[in-house]
């Protein structure tokens, strides 16, 4: 099987082969719920950080009995998988105050899912020197907590090595995204999406090796042509490329994104010299901002506009999971400013388990036609 195909498969399944191989070695896995968790710490503890997602969930009866309809369907789907035992392979979970839904799902998880280790990071909602100092202490406390809970010593050397491995992942993913800048990218948005998801679902050394090979394979492909528009996707958490796939089936080509399972996951590197704990805190806090960083609207817009320019984007799809107040709340200003910048935007409200595909297809089709 080609390296790129292996990556796609690893993204799709939970637990995947990487998880099974890791567990067979008698090693432990820590799940995390949000891209603001500094995975390098977990990696440096010789644990496997696995981002909790809900791929494959088709219904949520168990989660619905504990949470409510006004809670986002992604969170309920994650909880459903945990309640039905799909996340038994996790030896711990780490969460943070990402959004109302995730932080409360973590509460429910603590009460109703039998995962041995829990940790919660209080991540500031703004970028300032004081916030960086706060988060540095949080990251430091997390380090101490991991060391105590798993009986490991996260030395500065090991942490620096982990940062270096993760920066290599970031560099490789940038190379992957660079391939999308051309008029005829050799890779679809659907594939790229899964390749990024795979980065959160397997040990990074293994991932880097596979991605290096995959880049060679993909670089040798013939470019995609005949697409009617180059698109960017941004919005709520998207761990499944079904939506991207629908867009591409209709003739669009997704060439960029501002997603937490996309470019926002890897765009900024972590400094490798100096205090690694502080470097992690600073870098994670300053990464391209999710709307949880409520005062970071200007930098968020700057990032989106940069992506539009650098990837020659013709239009944006803003996808919002219903009840996501973060993306729902910012969309008014976001749309206004994109309109003012002459960038067409389609706002799509959706549920996590992609229903109403027919309606989505109709709206995307109209959007593509509108852009000519």
């Amino acid at each position: 099987m080609k390296a790129s195909e292996q990556l796609l498969e690893l993204a799709r399944e939970t637990p995947n082969d990487a998880v099974k191989r890791w567990k067979q070695q008698g090693k432990k896995i820590v799940g995390f719920f949000c891209s603001y968790v500094p995975e390098e710490l977990v990696h440096a503890a010789d644990l496997f950080p696995f981002r909790v997602k809900a791929r494959g969930c088709t219904e949520t009866p168990l989660a619905d009995s504990l949470m409510a309809q006004v809670n986002c369907s992604f969170v309920r789907a994650c909880l459903q998988l945990a309640l039905q035992g799909d996340y038994k392979f996790l030896d711990g979970v780490v969460s943070l105050n990402s959004c109302d839904h995730i932080r409360r799902m973590y509460d429910v998880w603590r009460y109703r899912v039998d995962t041995p280790y829990h940790h919660f990071l209080s991540v500031p909602h703004k970028v300032s020197e004081e916030a960086v100092a706060w988060y540095r202490d949080e990251v430091s406390a997390f380090k101490g907590n991991l060391e105590k809970a798993f009986g490991v010593d996260i030395t500065t050397k090991r942490l620096r090595e982990a940062i270096s491995v993760y920066n290599e992942t970031r560099r490789l993913l940038h190379s992957l995204y660079d391939l999308r800048r051309s008029d005829n990218p050799p890779i679809s948005g659907t594939e790229v999406h899964d390749i990024v998801v795979a980065a959160t679902a397997m040990p990074k050394e293994e991932y880097n090796e596979l991605l290096t090979k995959a880049l060679q394979e993909i670089g040798g492909r013939k470019g995609i042509s005949g697409h009617s528009a180059r698109l960017m996707v941004l919005g709520s958490v998207l761990d499944d490329p079904s939506l991207v796939s629908v867009v591409e089936e209709l003739g669009g080509l997704v060439v960029a994104d501002a997603l937490c399972f996309g470019s926002r996951y890897f765009w900024e590197s972590v400094k490798e010299v100096g205090d690694p704990v502080e470097n992690l805190a600073r870098s994670y806090l300053k990464r391209p901002a999710c709307p949880r960083m409520a005062t970071e609207h200007p930098s968020r817009m700057e990032y989106i506009k940069m992506m539009v320019k650098d990837f020659a984007v013709d239009g944006i799809i803003l996808e919002r999971i219903r009840y996501c107040d973060l993306w729902g709340g910012v969309s008014m200003v976001l749309q206004k400013e994109l309109d003012e910048a002459g960038i067409p935007v389609l706002v799509l409200d959706r549920e996590y388990i992609l229903s109403g595909v027919g309606q989505i297809r109709t709206r995307v089709q109209a959007f593509l036609e509108m852009m000519g």
């Binding site: 509460d107 709307p291 219903r322 107040d325 973060l326 709340g329 910012v330 200003v333 749309q335 206004k336």
Partner: protein, 418 residues
């Protein structure tokens, strides 16, 4: 002068309502005094041309009074307008053209009022982030961007620890500096001390009344608790609030001494564990009159903060006000782990000798709903009492009508409690 439709209209209406109630139902007039006073002060300040700062209602307002700034909490305005016959529908509908319908109604009110041009453009916006919810955290900075006015977001940590209190107190101090820079209004610390003294005196009454409400029968009705929360939130630091609380305390104290309850035949004691029904607080009167069911305490009007100590030091006052903000109901229940909320629900039900709890789940409060089941189970497990849960929009009766709410309560009382 910056006057605008909503503020002026509410001011006029509140004056009219207060005058009417004083004439027709003088014994109930005291409940209408705080909102009338709030809008009277705001109207006067705007007329005087003072700088206008919007602030999120979970920020305690004393600092603005000490800076001579006209302050308006859009959430407070929404709660008052929601109770008028025409409610906040117009503004919610306007907002829903631009933001999803699941955004909290008080935020939609603000968005709609701005888009309609019916509220004064502020000179700046002061708000919290992560205290308590996503909807409020994003609405204020988004509106600041929309209006192109400066804003300051006070970042709120998740945990309640000494480190959190210190971080937030420093945020509080930075917010004041930012306000001074943006408005040109300076903090007058002599005035702040005076304001904090008023605030403390009022809070002492709040705490004493909360104690008296534990008595059986409960000396004050549910509506008194609901309006007290609004009064504290809007008028802390004013002599008006001290006087108003003192009068309420005297009524409660006298009733306790006489062994009298707020209702002649108290049959059911309830603790309301989420947002009161602001679009019609009359539901509380209805429960009392028809079933003898008294809301003896409601969680979101349960102000627990101790009076600020060390009023001779400006640092101590600011630390105290920062802590008071963190201790505000809903904020302290919402921003962190579920346990403080869960434990307080259990403790209130126990201490206030409740027969049941009511979770009127406001649809805008996703974080409240997310753990409703856990809280309901824990209350039953610890105390053996039931919790009635139902979905409402506390500000918009189009989600669940008053009649439907009454039906749910009636069925609950008749089936389980009587």
């Amino acid at each position: 002068m910056v006057q605008a439709a909503v503020i002026e209209s509410v001011h006029q209406r509140m004056q009219g309502i207060l005058g009417h109630v004083k004439t027709k139902y003088p014994e109930r007039a005291w409940m209408y005094e705080p909102p009338a006073k709030y809008f009277e002060l705001l109207h006067e300040d705007i007329a005087l041309g003072k700088k206008v700062v919007w602030y999120f209602f979970l920020l305690t307002p004393e600092i603005f009074r000490a800076m001579d700034i006209a302050t308006c909490s859009p959430e407070y305005v929404a709660a008052i307008v929601a109770a008028f016959p025409d409610g906040i529908k117009k503004y919610v509908d306007v907002a829903e053209e631009k933001v999803p319908d699941h955004i909290c109604a008080v935020n939609k009110f603000t968005i709609g009022a701005i888009l309609s041009g019916d509220v004064p453009r502020p000179d700046m916006i002061l708000h919290t982030i992560g205290h308590p919810c996503d909807s409020s955290s994003v609405t204020h900075p988004m509106l600041a961007n929309y209006l192109k006015v400066p804003d300051f977001g006070l970042d709120t940590p998740y945990w309640d620890t000494p480190r959190s209190y210190k971080y937030f107190a420093e945020e509080f101090a930075r917010a004041i500096t930012f306000m001074e820079e943006q408005t040109g209004c300076k903090m007058d610390f002599d005035r702040l001390k005076e304001v904090a003294e008023y605030s403390n005196r009022a809070q002492e009454y709040v705490l004493k009344i909360a104690e008296l409400r534990k008595k059986v029968p409960c000396p004050m009705g549910g509506r008194a608790s609901a309006v007290t929360g609004g009064a504290v939130m809007g008028l802390a630091g004013t002599p008006f609030l001290v006087d108003w609380m003192a009068r309420q305390y005297e009524v409660a104290r006298a009733r306790v001494e006489r062994g009298e309850g707020a209702v002649p035949n108290e049959r059911i004691r309830l603790v309301w564990i989420w947002v009161p029904n602001y679009f019609d607080l009359g539901i509380l009167d209805w429960m009392e009159q028809k079933y003898g069911a008294v809301c003896v305490m409601d969680l979101l009007n349960h102000y627990i903060n101790r009076p600020i100590e060390g009023l001779s030091s400006k640092e101590k006052i600011l630390e105290g006000l920062a802590r008071k903000t963190l201790d505000y109901p809903m904020g302290r229940h919402g921003r962190g782990p579920v346990e403080p909320y869960l434990n307080e629900c259990i403790n209130l039900c126990r201490e206030y000798k409740a027969d049941a709890a009511v979770f009127a789940g406001h649809v805008g409060c996703k974080y409240g709903w997310a753990t409703a089941k856990i809280v309901r189970d824990a209350i039953h497990q610890e105390l053996g009492i039931p919790t009635l849960s139902f979905e409402v929009d506390a500000f918009d009766p189009r989600v669940t009508s008053l009649e439907t709410i009454k039906e749910k309560l009636a069925q609950f009382f008749e089936t389980l409690l009587l």
